[in-house]
């Protein structure tokens, strides 16, 4: 198995000093080249899970093995795209994409590599622009190019299109699908949008909240391009919604109880 997550637990200590469990007994196995969405309501720990795979957050217990090696720190085998583009504003688009390449490549090689991936996200005409001159969608495409430029085996995406408007998001979905088809990266895609996860992924891991657990693992076997198979998409959407509804009700009733008890 390419990525295996074994008996993973994560606890945080809240401001009163009480431990709270964010992730409980997570077990997952992901094949190389799979596009996997992690879907769940806010607070289910899906972003924390991704951050642990990235090596940015420590585990409380359990382990993550990628390609036979245990994850303890960030590495260039795992590229990450955040909800905000997180581009560095003091360097231009090309230099941003070259950022991860500076150490191991000559300047010429790094430039060529960066240009190749900027072409893939269709931003070849914006090499000299600075991040503040780009729209949100364009910034996010630069961030994707930057993550791809390291040629990682795994692409980790933490609600990458969550802050974009609907039209931009739809366009980026198509672009991401093309990139995935072309590069065959293993993608872990965190989202709270059911339709987004169905549109893009081979598998959907549905997570529940408080504590974060895996509720179910759904295979999406709709042929691509999926826009031609609307009926099947709706069928899966209803199936997923059944799982999520209970979770959302749980969150809502907890919030209501909290309000009345205050």
């Amino acid at each position: 198995m390419f990525i295996s997550i074994n008996q993973l637990n994560k606890q945080f200590t809240d401001k009163n000093g009480n431990p709270s469990t964010v992730l409980k007994d997570i077990n997952l196995a992901i094949e190389k080249g799979e596009f996997v969405s992690i879907l769940g309501p806010s607070g289910c720990g899906k972003s924390t899970l991704l951050s642990i795979v990235a090596g940015l957050t420590d585990v409380t217990s359990g382990e993550i093995i990628v390609d036979g090696t245990k994850i303890t720190k960030p590495g260039k085998d795992r590229g990450m795209v955040f909800q905000q583009a997180a581009l560095f504003p003091w360097i231009n688009v090309l230099e941003n994409v070259m950022f991860p390449l500076k150490k191991e490549m000559s300047k010429k090689e790094a430039t060529d590599q960066a240009k190749k991936y900027l072409k893939m996200v269709q931003l070849s005409n914006y090499l000299e622009h600075y991040p503040h001159e780009l729209s949100g969608g364009m910034q996010q495409r630069v961030a994707i190019a930057r993550a791809l430029a390291m040629d990682p085996d795994i692409l980790l995406m933490d609600e990458p299109f969550g802050a974009l408007d609907e039209q931009t998001r739809t366009r980026l979905h198509d672009q991401l699908e093309d990139i995935w088809t072309e590069t065959k990266k293993t993608v872990l895609f965190v989202t709270h949008s059911i339709s987004e996860s169905i549109k893009l992924s081979d598998r959907i891991i549905v997570m529940g909240t408080r504590p974060g657990t895996v509720l179910t693992d759904i295979k999406v076997d709709i042929p691509r391009p999926r826009s031609e198979h609307k009926d099947k998409m709706i069928e899966i959407e209803e199936h997923v919604m059944g799982y999520l509804k209970k979770e959302i009700d749980k969150v809502v009733s907890e919030e209501l109880n909290h309000e009345t008890s205050v």
Binding site: K76, M80, F88, W90, F99, H132
Partner: protein, 251 residues
């Protein structure tokens, strides 16, 4: 009406009243000489080069003092931003130092260095260092954590992370720190020069005062004010604005 016209009319009226009052003899010349006299004094000072030499001498002290202040301030700022112990000890005393006008160090400085350039430069250094250090600390502590996380996923760590991400990310604070350091250093410089030997703008101001040459006193005051305003508005505020824009801190 455009603001620039309003300003011209405003200052025109003030200067006319001032000139008129002086010519009518409403007060003696030693109290407040007429603007025309001030202009004559400035002109002759520039023509016989004395004011230019003063300006040059003052700028030399300022350049040395400010350069040391910026380097020292940056070093202290980085140290207290990165080390908790340094912040608890050095950091906590910075605000106290910053609230003491640096000119009060002059008597001690004269004992240590003598009545010369070094004493003035010392006061200029103290004027700029603390405010620079405080801004550098704030800048480094306010680097968005997202930048650091993103850089870590791209293999940056340790010194490499500091040089390529933390340092450039805090440049807006470096610029603000430099602007304030300049302002404090400029004030400290003139105060120091008033109390020591020349040449220098402050020294010429006191020299003119000793001889009752009030038109020269006002002339030097105008030069000091003009340079302060020009450097602040034409240089530092412009850099600050363009940096803030590129760093995405303003729309």
């Amino acid at each position: 009406m455009k603001p620039v016209f309003k300003r011209i009319i405003f200052f025109g009226i003030i200067l006319s009243l001032w000139e008129l009052g002086a010519r009518l003899g409403l007060w003696t010349e030693i109290i407040l000489p007429a603007p025309s006299k001030v202009i004559v004094s400035l002109y002759s000072g520039i023509e016989n080069m004395t004011l230019l030499y003063d300006l040059l001498a003052s700028f030399r002290r300022l350049a040395v003092g400010l350069a040391i202040a910026l380097i020292l301030g940056t070093s202290i700022g980085v140290l207290i931003a990165k080390s908790k112990t340094a912040d608890d000890t050095i950091g906590s005393s910075l605000l106290a130092f910053q609230s003491v006008p640096s000119i009060v160090w002059l008597p001690l400085a004269m004992m240590w260095f003598g009545l010369n350039d070094k004493a003035v430069i010392f006061v200029v250094v103290l004027g700029g260092t603390f405010v620079m250090a405080l801004n550098v600390r704030t800048g480094i502590k306010n680097v968005p954590p997202l930048y650091i996380r993103a850089a870590q996923t791209m293999g940056a760590k340790g010194l490499d992370l500091f040089i390529r991400v933390v340092f450039p990310a805090s440049i807006p604070y470096f610029v603000t720190g430099s602007r304030l350091a300049w302002a404090f250093a400029w004030r400290a410089l003139i105060a120091g020069e008033l109390l020591t030997t020349g040449p220098g703008l402050g020294y010429t101001l006191r020299y003119a005062s000793d001889f009752g040459d009030m038109s020269m006193v006002i002339g030097v005051m105008i030069i000091i004010g003009a340079i302060g305003a020009i450097v602040d508005q034409l240089i530092f505020q412009r850099i600050e604005k363009s940096v803030a824009k590129r760093w995405g801190l303003s729309s």
